[in-house]
């Protein structure tokens, strides 16, 4: 019996591809998608990347570039992206019955019993996704999920020569690939682990592949052992399993320029919360509470933790919590140099599914959490953001594309 093969399929610049599906005129034009509230860039086409626009680059910093290169800017349209993501996974399911979505634009596939014709099969898959949904994808094939990630990394890096499909089922090819890859690019190896591994002389993925997994397991965790075994071609992660769900998720950054305005702080925190939320959903967890923290130029630290009545992964819940939290800890006249968000109390989302689906609206839940907070911290600790604030929020996504697939009034028009 032949072994299973894993494939990681991911869409290149997914949000951009979604926008281009309904705006084919933008196929060869640079596109950037902005975060909630238009704070910063969160997705961009290759060309925009080559201009130096990165994920997290503030919108105001690229306004000149946008004008100069005639870049089309969109506010993020999560309704659209979510819908296209589901369609994407359906198309994948036409090529194998084992599809496990990993994030909005990435899914693992499992093939049993395919051998030589698998590459052709994947090329057909790639062509189909392109024809049907106009999504450009890359596919990495390997005997384990961790190696499939490696293969995908190369497929993406060398799209021209690989036609977007890289097969690392062959051991010689694997060695070639791992020798040229930094350990930090391995799935599940974060920045902190990279630093520690460096102290033990483990720099490349190949170093990690050759490391003594028993020793490393003692020094780190069983997850490290699994990563090493996976790099050696022994599947340790089951098909729907993801490596090491985190216990808390943190996102923070120092400001390029010190910030004094409350609205700017809110924007920064909203950005961090959105990123945290993506990480949260990526590992299929829900957060029970959110902590905001601010550092002032004088080295003071202000923080507040807001519990949710029920664990959630809904970005809008976090954004609402931020609105309220910032009002509580912001002090006019202070100069802030850094802000961040931590999500705590992470629980697997699987156990909460029934609650989510039975909840037709998040509002009761939000009300509950506000009540919880107010109960804990005193009356009016949190109240709704002022109307002016809400308007400001709404105004800041005026570059949003129509909800082509989720609102009747916004479907495409043909004459």
């Amino acid at each position: 019996m032949s072994k299973s093969t894993y494939a990681l399929c991911d869409v290149n610049s997914f949000y951009v591809a979604c926008e281009r599906l309904f705006r084919p005129d933008l196929q060869n034009k640079p596109v950037v998608v902005l975060s909630n509230n238009d704070g910063c860039a969160i997705a961009m086409c290759e060309y925009s990347k080559s201009l130096g626009i990165k994920i997290g680059t503030p919108h105001f910093q690229i306004k000149t570039l946008i004008k100069k290169h005639d870049i089309e800017c969109f506010s993020s349209n999560y309704g659209l992206y979510g819908d296209i993501s589901q369609r994407f996974n359906w198309v994948l399911s036409q090529f194998t019955d084992k599809v496990s979505p990993y994030s909005v634009d990435e899914s693992f596939l499992k093939f049993d019993g395919f051998t030589d014709n698998l590459i052709q099969h994947c090329k057909r898959l790639r062509k189909t996704v392109d024809e049907w949904l106009s999504l450009p994808i890359c596919i990495g094939l390997a005997p384990t999920k961790t190696l499939a990630k490696v293969a995908n990394y190369y497929a993406k890096k060398h799209q021209g020569s690989t036609q977007g499909v890289v097969d690392l089922r062959n051991e010689q090819h694997r060695e070639w690939a791992l020798r040229r890859m930094q350990v930090s690019d391995i799935w599940g190896v974060g920045r902190r682990l990279t630093q520690k591994l460096k102290l033990h002389g483990i720099i490349t993925a190949w170093d990690l592949h050759n490391a003594d997994y028993k020793t490393l397991q003692r020094m780190f965790s069983v997850n490290m052992e699994r990563t090493i075994l996976e790099l050696r071609g022994q599947p340790c992660l089951t098909f729907s399993e993801l490596p090491q769900p985190k216990q808390s998720i943190l996102n923070s950054r120092s400001f390029g320029n010190p910030i004094t305005e409350q609205s700017d702080l809110k924007e920064a925190l909203a950005y961090h919360a959105t990123r945290c939320c993506e990480k949260l959903r990526k590992q299929s967890s829900l957060a029970s509470s959110i902590q905001l923290f601010l550092y002032t130029r004088d080295g003071y630290h202000h923080g507040i933790t807001l519990p949710f009545s029920e664990p959630t992964d809904d970005t809008s819940c976090f954004l609402k919590a931020i609105n309220s939290g910032v009002q509580k800890i912001y002090k006019a006249g202070e100069v802030y140099k850094k802000a961040g968000v931590v999500l705590f109390g992470l629980v697997p989302s699987s156990g909460y599914q029934s609650d989510i689906f039975s909840n037709t609206s998040q509002r009761p839940e939000l009300m509950d959490s506000l009540d919880t907070i107010n109960k804990k911290y005193g009356q009016d600790t949190i109240k709704f953001g002022s109307l002016g604030f809400a308007k400001r929020w709404a105004m800041r996504c005026n570059a949003q594309s129509p909800h082509y697939t989720t609102r009747w009034s916004e479907i495409i028009k043909v004459s």
Partner: protein
Amino acid sequence: MSKVSILKPQGSYSDIPLYSGRVSAGFPGVVDEHMEDTLSLDQLLIKQPATTFFARVEGDSMIEAGIFQGDVLVVDRSIDAKDGDIVVALLDNEFTVKRLKNPESPILQSENPNYPNITVTGEHELTIWGVVTGLARSLR
């Protein structure tokens, strides 16, 4: 001889229970046991939901094909357009609905004598975005 009678909608507005039991006077009670699946317009109009999108018609260039202003077109992107299909095409960066003739050297045909056919030449940029497979219209 069996009859089909449609009873009041249940659940969503588009789900209408279908009774396939024989309905005849003096024989009530049998029908309930023969309740089958529910009917939905989605099921009728959409073969492949994941690749199907909707588009709103503007203008009257297709009225002789029974396509009017304000109609909702059901457009499937997974189908290869054949000669004679009504398609949603992107012509010089504008979405348009026309009948496709001769896909090899395409002509976009209007279904209204007031509109000329468009012979697609090298000067035009044409992409077939999807094939129109159905139509939905509210009458009031």
